[in-house]
């Protein structure tokens, strides 16, 4: 693990796995078979066999993300992810997609603060060509000026279509992080500035591949119509001869909870309806507070039965929606400072302060009274079902196991999550609500349509 900063906290969570699930019938349990092996070159291989369909999911997770990109190269980890699809000396540009499409498969990749994943799902008949392609691009890329320029253009279009040409422009994950965090690793725009993206050179690409894309900094995970023996043998065959490469030590990007509220009002030239994002810094990965925070987020903002939905969308009828997000990942898939963010569009007849006061009242009620046994049981049952559902697709199963192996150092942690959730008590919720969901620890962005903001200014 290159970025396990709190190994001392692991035993707390592991201890929790002993309490058996009592929330639902045993027929509802969904334990995955998980086999793990590390090759001599440091590549960790995870296999979860399931013969119910002739399909296999593949995920290669590299332990590098937006936090580790060079300081004058915002957006580089993501630009680099694009270049991983653009050819190698053995497989020229276009080969990768053609081989996977011709095998009946789908592929994608994504970049997050703490990892970058490359994923495929395909009929199992395409497994060997896919592993060959993944191993091939782990060895080297073709480092071409032409594809660099092409993907600089493509990434800029991605930013235009998702940020610059969209109302709200991703402010609930980009801007809120810029405002809430104090260290560069955590608060820079991971999509990147156009200037930095355009400044990227082939030498940057070479160095990033050399430093972060070796087998010792990666996890290969297979789920579906493949046995551990078959999977390990294929991994050895295609990846076994790739040499280890030294990986730089990550900077210390830890930071404490905030001690003073930050409030920002932004003008949105495209939006017609105002929106608010409220971000709270949360516990480190492995903290005993992590599972209670996950449950608390569900109690407050997880779907139509949640307190904020019932209180703000229904009830006071102030908001159009209530969504919660853990940065760009999930409650158990981060490994550095992360925000629990509540995002809502709200009615123009309402002020953001009224919305915040209502949210605070919901939080205060939990700090004071906790939640009833019945509500807690309901929420946990829903979370167990959601967890099962998130593992149904062989693609997300392989990817989840790869991420757990990369972030926690153990893919088998995935089978413990249901028990962690089950062990959370009302007192836990009171404790974490009081500690993390405070005014001092929050960052608020009130994002208003430009026309509405201009009218507000005239009134003053």
């Amino acid at each position: 693990m290159s970025a396990m900063r709190s190994p001392k906290l692991l035993p707390f969570l592991i201890g929790l796995t002993l309490s058996a699930s009592s929330l639902a019938s045993d027929v509802d349990r969904f334990d995955l078979p998980i086999a793990v092996k590390t090759l001599d070159n440091g590549l960790t291989v995870v296999v979860s066999e399931d013969r119910s369909a002739p399909v296999v999911g593949v995920s290669v997770v590299y332990k590098v993300g937006m936090r580790s990109e060079p300081k004058n190269r915002t957006g580089f980890a993501h630009l680099f992810e694009h270049l991983m699809f653009e050819g190698t000396p053995n497989a020229p540009e276009g080969t990768f997609d053609k081989v996977i499409s011709g095998g009946g498969g789908r592929n994608n990749g994504s970049t997050r603060p703490d990892f970058t994943n490359y994923i495929e799902i395909a009929p199992v008949s395409a497994l060997e060509p896919i592993l060959w392609l993944e191993a091939d691009r782990m060895k080297t890329l073709d480092f071409s000026e032409k594809t660099l320029k092409n993907q600089q253009d493509v990434v800029k279009e991605e930013i235009r279509v998702n940020v610059k040409n969209q109302p709200y422009g991703g402010f609930m994950w980009i801007d809120i992080s810029q405002q809430a965090f104090s260290k560069w690793e955590n608060n820079h725009d991971g999509y990147g500035s156009f200037v930095d993206l355009e400044s990227a050179k082939l030498d940057d690409v070479r160095a990033f591949h050399r430093d972060y894309y070796g087998p010792n900094n990666a996890v290969l995970s297979l789920a579906g119509d493949v046995s551990p023996e078959e999977g390990f043998a294929l991994a050895e065959k295609y990846f076994g001869k790739i040499d280890q490469r030294p990986t730089p030590k990550p900077a210390d990007f830890s930071e404490p909870l905030n001690t003073q509220e930050k409030r920002i009002t932004q003008s949105d030239p495209l939006a017609q309806v105002p929106a608010v994002a409220v971000g709270y810094k949360i516990a480190d990965r492995g903290s005993p507070d992590q599972a209670p925070i996950a449950v608390l987020a569900e109690v407050l903002a997880g779907g139509d039965a949640s307190r904020m939905y019932q209180g703000l969308v229904k009830g006071k009828e102030m908001a159009l929606n209530i969504d919660s997000l853990f940065g760009l990942t999930g409650p158990f898939e981060y490994d550095g400072p992360t925000l629990l963010t509540v995002f809502a569009l709200y009615k123009p007849t309402v002020q953001a302060d009224q919305l915040l006061a209502e949210m605070d009242a919901q939080i205060a009620a939990i700090v004071k009274d906790g939640v009833s046994d019945a509500e807690l049981a309901r929420v946990k049952t829903a979370m167990l079902a959601d967890w099962n559902n998130s593992l149904e697709s062989f693609l997300s199963r392989a990817d989840t196991l790869a991420k757990f192996q990369a972030l926690w150092g153990d893919a088998k942690v995935a089978n413990r999550v249901p028990a962690w959730i089950q062990a959370v008590t009302s007192d836990d919720l009171k404790r974490v609500a009081a500690k993390y969901l405070t005014v001092a620890n929050r960052t608020v962005i009130d994002r208003k349509p430009a026309a509405m903001l201009a009218t507000d200014a005239e009134k003053k």
Binding site: D28, S125, K314, L395
Partner: protein, 468 residues
């Protein structure tokens, strides 16, 4: 000179060279694909209840979850009064906001407590209520589904809130270029046919009353026009018993609505520029009507549209993204419905390349009819579609939803298992014929949502009318 001639000339000028990559050999040590395993075809047990409700059961031994999909034919957006477009979406949304036994909150809590969800949505051809739960809760969840589908109470306060939120939601959607582009291309493709009216309007939302909802529920949600699909850890006999218990005493009232008239399979092309001041991209849509899902051309159209615009290896993606760097994504879809269909392509591109990108899309359209697709490219695309079937089939809810969607568009249950063999039978001559028949640039309507300054780049592609 007519628009048609201009479009033809441009198409002829811009036929691109075949991609270099296509001719290039595969890496010499790349392993071959293994032999395909036999295609899994779900076994469907079928029964029709006395009240006309069709029940299909697909037992699965995977997830500890049960999935129910209850679909109502002819209950969707195409059945809506032209004065209230999008009404079926409001109807669907309000089903779970109160029943004769529970209020909205109690319904949400019941679903949560069963480890499940319940919700409804409207599509062109139908209204679908979907529910799932942990396997142990199959019976109570089916009861909740029946309660929501059969006895929604449409409380006045919930109706008012749904309308107020829909008005704000519409305002928010209007700020997105894709939303406006979709409305305009549907209008160009379908004209006055109801398939053109799937988005709601301010006036339409304001016009909705509780009485409309109650009447539409009675007329549209009826057992004699419904299909219930059950998938998961359940054997067919038990599933049929559960279905009878939940729906057996449900009687249809009054007459069902008439079927939707067929939409035209051709349309006079329209050229629409929707002004979006300060936009940093142009949202391009190219479209024309096609044929219903039951038409003989449906399968070859699926193959042809995949070659052009399905996935990373498609011609539009390779050309506009991987070669030119004009866009994050370019795609084409064949939308096959019960009474018609549409072929709609799209890409969002930076302002400077608006005209050039449109030229490339139309050039790729021309090429599909002008030259035969190579055996390798055809095979790749057929395998890509077959793979999509296998990948989707791995997911329990996807099987139920595909069966229900096929049924709504008039296809028999056997279509699911026959789909891949039919795709495999399509040859290059058929694809080229489809290219000539459906992809001539002169037949395509074009919509551009973008800044006023981009209009100058469009003059070669048609006589565009600008509106706000």
């Amino acid at each position: 000179m007519t628009k048609t001639l201009i479009a033809l000339l441009i198409g002829a000028l811009l036929v691109p060279a075949a991609h270099a990559g296509e001719a290039a050999a595969m890496p010499k040590d790349l392993p071959a694909y293994a032999a395909d395993k036999p295609l899994p075809v779900p076994a469907i047990s079928k029964q029709t209840l006395d009240n006309g409700l069709t029940v299909w059961v697909v037992p699965r031994n995977g997830m500890p979850r049960i999935d129910f999909v209850l679909a109502f034919q002819g209950a969707g957006l195409a059945a809506d009064d032209p004065a209230m477009p999008g009404f079926a979406s409001t109807l669907a949304g309000l089903l779970s906001e109160g029943s004769d036994q529970r209020d909205s909150k109690a319904i949400a809590e019941a679903a949560q407590g069963q480890g499940g969800s319940i919700g409804a949505f409207a599509s062109n051809d139908g209204l679908t209520v979907a529910a799932d739960a942990l396997a142990s809760n199959a019976e109570p969840m089916l009861a909740l589904l029946a309660e929501v589908a059969r006895t929604p109470s449409f409380p006045e306060n919930e109706v008012a809130l749904a309308k107020a939120n829909a008005l704000q939601g519409l305002k928010a959607a209007e700020a997105q270029p894709g939303f406006r582009a979709e409305r305009a291309i549907l209008k160009a493709v379908y004209g006055e046919h109801p398939y053109a009216r799937t988005q709601n309007t301010e006036a339409g939302i304001n016009a909705i009353t509780r009485e409309h909802l109650v009447a539409a529920h009675r007329q549209r949600l009826r057992p004699d026009r419904a299909l219930l699909v059950i998938t998961g850890r359940v054997d067919p006999e038990r599933a049929f018993t559960l279905a009878k218990g939940a729906f057996g005493d449900w009687k249809a009232e009054g007459k069902a609505a008439a079927a939707i008239a067929a939409s035209a399979t051709t349309a006079t092309p329209r050229f629409v520029h929707l002004e979006r001041s300060g936009s940093v991209q142009s949202a391009l849509r190219v479209g024309r009507p096609s044929v219903p899902a039951t038409d003989a051309d449906h399968i070859p159209l699926r193959v042809a549209s995949t070659i052009l615009g399905g996935g990373f290896s498609s011609r539009l993606m390779q050309n506009l993204r991987e070669d030119k760097g004009y866009t994050y994504g370019a795609y084409l879809g064949h939308r096959s419905l019960a009474a018609g269909g549409a072929l709609i392509a799209g890409a969002d591109v930076r302002n400077e390349v608006t005209g050039a990108a449109l030229g490339e899309v139309l050039a790729e359209y021309t090429r599909l009819g002008a030259e035969a697709v190579s055996a390798r490219e055809l095979d790749m695309n057929k395998r890509y579609i077959a793979g999509g079937y296998l990948i989707s089939n791995q997911m329990q809810a996807a099987v139920a939803m595909t069966l229900a969607n096929n049924w709504l568009s008039g296809l028999p249950p056997e279509f699911l298992g026959e789909f891949v063999p039919k795709v495999r039978a399509v040859d290059a001559a058929q694809v080229q014929a489809i290219g000539k028949k459906y992809f001539a640039p002169a037949q395509q309507s074009i919509v551009v949502v973008g800044d006023a300054a981009v209009v100058a780049q469009l003059k070669d592609y048609g006589k565009f009318e600008t509106s706000k």
